[in-house]
Symmetry: C2
Subunit: 211 residues, 2 copies
């Protein structure tokens, strides 16, 4: 009753929510830079100019902060992908939109995405599985669209949908790791380049000559 018990971890008014947001944002930044285990709660507090202990008014543990950062990282992806899947468009166009949609969070919230990609494996079992489900859902959406393309004849029949999906997601997720240091290409150009690569390949197919 009269004990300390900040109910804040359960009920949250908008002020608390906003401050919690700032903390999550700082956590995302530091986790992204130094990795989860390489990050001290002190470092997170430093970003905000507050004391290390004060963080615990908003979050029960460092692990909980990681969980929240990862959750926001995935949601950026899932929402967009799910929306593209619902569209009424030919598969190749959907794939184009999926690629652009997947690059969006990488562009707008790179820290969250980076943490989601690189640090989610350090989550406790329960939440890692939850995040894993979303992650597999994203994969499945790419796979479904590619399969649809094979079925309607717009994608080559021999193509391995699963392998292609893994390849495409691989190149997309890699952007997170080179965008920072590389000559920061604009995201539209990257998307366009990827789409051309995936759709048409880079080889000059001199079909008349070759067969």
């Amino acid at each position: 009753m009269t004990k300390h018990t900040p109910r804040t971890h359960f009920v949250r008014n908008s002020r608390v929510l906003r401050r919690a947001d700032e903390i999550i944002d700082a956590a995302a930044r530091v986790f992204a830079q130094r990795g989860y285990h390489g990050t001290t709660t002190q470092a997170i507090a430093d970003v905000l100019g507050m004391r290390q202990a004060s963080l615990y008014y908003y979050f029960p543990s460092k692990e909980a902060a990681l969980e929240e950062v990862c959750a926001r990282g995935t949601d950026g992806f899932v929402g967009g992908a799910e929306r593209v899947l619902q569209l009424d468009a030919p598969p190749l166009e959907k794939l184009t939109l999926l690629i652009a949609s997947h690059l969006a969070p990488i562009d707008t919230m790179p820290d969250y995405v980076r943490v989601f990609i690189n640090e989610r494996r350090y989550l406790p079992d329960a939440s890692r599985k939850r995040i894993g489900r979303k992650s597999r859902r994203i994969e499945r959406i790419f796979e479904l669209v590619i399969e649809a393309g094979i079925e309607d004849g717009s994608i080559k029949p021999g193509v391995d949908a699963r392998l292609t999906m893994l390849a495409v997601l691989g190149m997309l997720n890699a952007v997170i790791n080179w965008r920072a240091c590389d000559q920061c290409q604009d995201i539209e150009a990257i998307a366009a380049g990827f789409v051309r690569l995936v759709a048409d390949g880079i080889a000059v197919t001199n079909s008349a000559v070759k067969r």
Copy 2:
């Protein structure tokens, strides 16, 4: 003079070398699984059934072990890529070989590669730069081969060599992260699938109809 000073860290006979190898191998395994900062020297010792303190007979620090693991991780890549570059073959064939060659270490020494890819950023400045140079060399080799293809007309003139290189390395390096959990496809099939994707794309180019 008569002090303890095990010279082992500097002079190494073959016995010491072999044991050091075992330790590095254990370190690679644990680093790969839990990340550098998530790994305790105790966990490395556990793998070998030896005491935590005994590791320090072979290595001056945990950081030095990471350095060695990363070095071996890169060397697997660089050697192969450099050899392919020297070959006298058309660019597209070189690219095919580069892809296969890059997948080889991922297949045969996944722990080292994983650590190299995910943990190298935690190396101290000096060695991180050294590793970084090798890493950039690998990128450059892919880029050179693609550029050569553009010049000799076997690769489409509009292709962005740098972006393509980043895409290809992205999909290749991603293999490390799904090979373990996914239905472990054989590496040859993965290589073949990637080559087809990169060279020809997945879209049905109904050139007669489309233009």
